[in-house]
């Protein structure tokens, strides 16, 4: 996948041979930095010591086998885990230098800046228009012309042409792929800084998937995107950097827990992974 580097790598080619080579693995302008992030569900230690940084206007993919904590890590980034009563987070997640788990942080303010798209398309059972306008309305955004905002969000999500004549129709009438793009439109209507996507294509057919992938490449110009995917080809196609997680035994107790194995440029992960486990996984030799 050499074209991937040309299209997406934020690091100019020349850096590959310089001393910066080791540095290039980490984004220079991170939006998020996690430090010793640990998440527990009750007594269960779901992820252990995740140190990651996510670059601005980059697409970062989180990959790994089911149950390794990809969704859990993603949901820490906009404090969605707060909705799960048993979930507990330790360590720090700093967003532009602010700890989003800090004492005086309002999770609602966090979520207003960090949008999310879920695995199963979840439009509200309202009109297409009201779905897109929902975020701006609840957040009290100052909107001069809601119609324009709805149009630009739908255009941004590559859905406008398909729905412009039926904005008042119920969103449930759309196909799965259209619903998912509507959810993306809804997420970007609040003009977030980051868009988190948790397996956004896993409920979609290949054509709808392709559309969403093309859309992600578009969105990357304006947003920072972090995507969980269990589809390695997808990670290879769309992302700039890839973090590989896996399930490991804790050395002290032998309990299973999710951990970050390797984090690097996507090309590096897929062409010359440093860790044996990564290599096994991406080559399909994972047991």
């Amino acid at each position: 996948m050499p074209d991937l580097t040309e299209r997406h790598s934020p690091v100019p080619e020349t850096h590959h041979t310089t001393r910066d080579d080791a540095m290039a693995a980490l984004p220079r302008d991170p939006v998020f930095v996690t430090d010793k992030l640990n998440v527990y569900y009750g007594d269960f230690h779901a992820v252990t010591d995740v140190d990651l940084s996510f670059g601005k206007n980059e697409i970062t993919a989180l990959i790994g086998p089911s149950g390794c904590g990809k969704s859990t890590v993603l949901r820490c980034l906009n404090r969605m885990n707060d909705l799960i009563p048993t979930a507990r987070v330790a360590g720090t997640v700093s967003y532009h230098g602010l700890d989003i788990y800090g004492e005086r942080v309002d999770p609602i303010e966090v979520r207003r800046r960090i949008g999310m798209v879920f695995q199963k398309p979840n439009p509200f059972p309202k009109s297409i228009y009201d779905n897109v306008a929902y975020g701006p309305r609840v957040t009290g955004m100052k909107v001069e012309n809601m119609d324009d905002l709805v149009e630009s969000a739908l255009t941004g999500a590559a859905l406008w042409d398909e729905v412009k004549d039926k904005l008042k129709q119920n969103a449930n009438g759309l196909s799965g792929g259209q619903q998912q793009r509507l959810c993306i439109a809804r997420a970007i209507a609040t003009m977030p800084d980051v868009v988190l996507m948790d397996e956004p294509c896993s409920a979609l057919d290949p054509i709808a998937t392709l559309k969403i992938e093309e859309l992600m490449a578009e969105l990357r110009n304006n947003y920072t995107i972090i995507i969980v995917t269990h589809n390695m080809q997808q990670a290879a196609r769309v992302s700039d950097r890839t973090a590989f997680f896996s399930v490991q035994q804790k050395s002290e107790t032998g309990d299973r827990t999710g951990a970050l194995v390797e984090y690097d440029l996507t090309t590096k992960i897929f062409e010359s992974p440093a860790d044996r486990r990564t290599e096994d996984y991406i080559s399909g030799r994972f047991g």
Binding site: R111, G115, F118, N122, F124, Y134, V138, T139, A187
Partner: protein, 318 residues
């Protein structure tokens, strides 16, 4: 038959492998149970309509609805049912003013704000409250609520609305009816709210909604049909409740919705008159059934209105 033609492999049969007698018996039993429910309903209606029709041979329908007074037990009885209808309306009105917002509020609290533990305690508590016999509420009204209101009549808001009431008055009945149906409204509403798919709530939170916004913009619209059902259930219970209104609102057929007046409701009339000494076959005797039939119609209308409302306003999630 055609299935056992020559080219099908030996031993392949797609015909039923057993006669499934047990399943058939169960289906028959279920059918009979459903049939019994329908037949009993029809029997009730017939048993009610026959004597009610008898009543209307003595008193015309127009007379029933236009006469000003309700004095069925006097020497020259008059049957103006509007008095009873208004009495029921008044008591139910106050009960709804209390129970609908309180019940809905309790449901929203339980569903959106209460911690898991608190909900684990509150929900069964509500269900126990639902099961308290209504005579207990009647006693609660007479022994506690009515005297409390009466004694403090001048020191709180209703005092501005009129004279100190006697021992029986609309507000006491309405408040206790309201308290009685709060658990029904809260519990049924919360069941409907809990059925909202997690994905919708996550979507709403993910867009930066506050809890209140999630409740009012996503959960309540999505659960609307269940919420309306809870209102109708509560309303029907309030309309049909007898002992509370008889004890707390009295037996004076006033045409009033003022909180301090006593009124006579349809159910209170039925309950009181059918336990008193009335001669079989008199117009008064038959009037019990006429009022009963009217009660039936009122409940039916409430249900129909609610169905229409739900059709118009609900948001259907997948």
């Amino acid at each position: 038959m055609a299935s056992s033609t020559a080219d099908s492999p030996a031993g392949l049969s797609l015909e039923p492998q057993s006669r499934r007698v047990g399943e058939k018996a169960i289906v028959a039993w279920l059918f009979l149970a459903a049939l019994a429910a329908v037949l009993i309903t029809i029997a009730i209606v017939v048993a009610l309509l026959e004597p009610a029709a008898e009543f209307f041979r003595f008193v015309s329908v127009t007379e029933f609805f236009s006469t000003a007074r309700w004095t069925p037990t006097q020497a020259d009885p008059e049957f103006g049912v509007l008095r009873l209808l208004a009495g029921t309306g008044a008591a139910v009105l106050y009960s709804c003013i209390i129970a609908l917002p309180a019940g809905l509020g309790a449901a929203i609290y339980m569903n959106e704000y209460a911690s898991f533990r608190v909900r684990q305690v509150l929900k069964p508590l509500l269900e126990i409250l639902e099961g308290i016999p209504t005579v207990v509420y009647g006693f609660f009204a007479v022994a506690f609520v009515a005297p409390l209101m009466k004694d403090n009549w001048w020191t709180w808001l209703p005092g501005q609305l009129g004279e100190e009431p006697g021992t029986q008055f609309i507000l006491a009945a309405g408040v206790v009816l309201g308290i009685m149906i709060i658990p029904t409204v809260a519990s049924v509403s919360q069941d409907a709210m809990a059925a909202i798919p997690r994905g919708l709530r996550e979507a709403a939170y993910g867009l930066g909604s506050t809890r209140m916004q999630v409740a009012t913009r996503v959960v309540v619209p999505g659960a609307l049909s269940g919420i309306v059902a809870s209102f109708v259930l509560g309303l029907s219970r309030a309309i049909g409740e007898t002992i509370v209104v008889l004890l707390a609102a009295g037996a004076m057929a006033n045409l009033s919705i003022l909180p301090n007046d006593p009124v006579f409701t349809m159910t209170a009339f039925i309950g009181r008159t059918s336990t008193g000494e009335i001669a079989y076959g008199t117009t008064t005797y038959y009037s019990i059934f006429a009022v009963g039939a009217l009660l039936f119609v009122v409940t039916l209308v409430v249900n129909l209105i609610s169905i229409a409302l739900v059709r118009k306003f609900r948001e259907v999630y997948e």
